[in-house]
Subunit: 189 residues, 2 copies
């Protein structure tokens, strides 16, 4: 059980509201009401709704960036790197599925600098993924299919995990990791 | 080149606007403007924005339902059935990626009867998919992983194809079908 600061509590409560209603439809008044406090007292901890959104999304994007950098620069095989990427997505989803809803649905509401920073991180993440697959194909570790199709098939599943997994009652996290790595990399046939 | 009726032209133009701005943000006036006609003359062909939305979504959902019924009741192997499902999604995406954006983003704006009809079709579609996988696993044709993980891994990719494929310039439809079937069913390792 981690101890949350007041700011973290605000960010967690906002993640849930953003997921349910979308960033644009949520007001600071809604947030205060959901937390059972006065709207004015929110401003002792955060400056704006925009600050909350950027905290949620930029922290998550930096977590993916740090994780990917570690994976991409390691001396592991391409297959091991892909397994580690799947693990990374599952770990982040287990920890913060609500925040991932904001990242996926509301990233375009980030303002200027944060928007650019986010888009740069997302692009570099996809480039690193693509390079791992390309190198794996070049070295004969990964089958020689169209690289964009391999990247899309894997990322499209990992990126929507946050929507699906919270609704599953009977799938243990270890089974999820094991079976998803098997299905995505080794196939079902 | 197919000849479109006036109603089909309206539906096509609306699909593009709904994709760009979302159903709720589009007015009949926007639609008339995009088509270069007067708003009043739209009503010679359709009754409401809701009628346009339900035409887009229900036609697509019925197309998936008819396709799935044919696949599910055939005497093909489970693997062949899964290949046919992937083909079905690719064919519909190639033909109507704009409409699929409405189906994915705006289905919840359908009104009462159409909403229930859509949700029933979607549920039956997923059930048929699940049954094909379950039978394949039972008969040893498909590897024995968690069935929900197999269904989610495949459907999450097929359902977001409409977002990704229109941005790909260099992937021929036949390569898409071949490589996607291989990647989703046989894996990349």
């Amino acid at each position: 059980m981690k101890i949350e600061t007041r700011k973290q509590e605000i960010v967690s409560a906002a993640s849930i509201l953003f997921k349910e209603k979308g960033y644009s439809a949520v007001t600071m008044r809604d947030l205060a009401k959901a937390m059972g406090i006065k709207a004015a007292s929110l401003y002792n901890h955060i400056q704006s709704k925009q600050e909350i959104l950027s905290t949620i999304i930029i922290e998550l994007a930096e977590e993916f960036t740090t994780g990917m950098d570690k994976i991409a620069t390691s001396r592991d095989s391409a297959i091991q790197k892909l397994e580690n990427i799947i693990d990374l997505h599952i770990d982040v989803t287990l920890r913060n599925a609500d925040g991932l809803a904001s990242l996926n649905n509301d990233w375009m509401h980030l303002e200027e600098d944060n928007l650019q920073y986010f888009e740069k991180m997302r692009e570099e993440y996809e480039d690193s993924f693509r390079e791992i697959v390309r190198k794996g194909v070049d070295e004969g570790e990964i089958k020689s299919f169209n690289i964009e199709i391999i990247v899309f098939s894997t990322l499209s599943t990992l990126r929507t995990l946050y929507l699906w997994y919270p609704k599953q009652k009977n799938i243990d996290a270890n089974i999820l990791k094991h079976d998803m790595i098997s299905v995505l990399l080794k196939g079902v046939v």
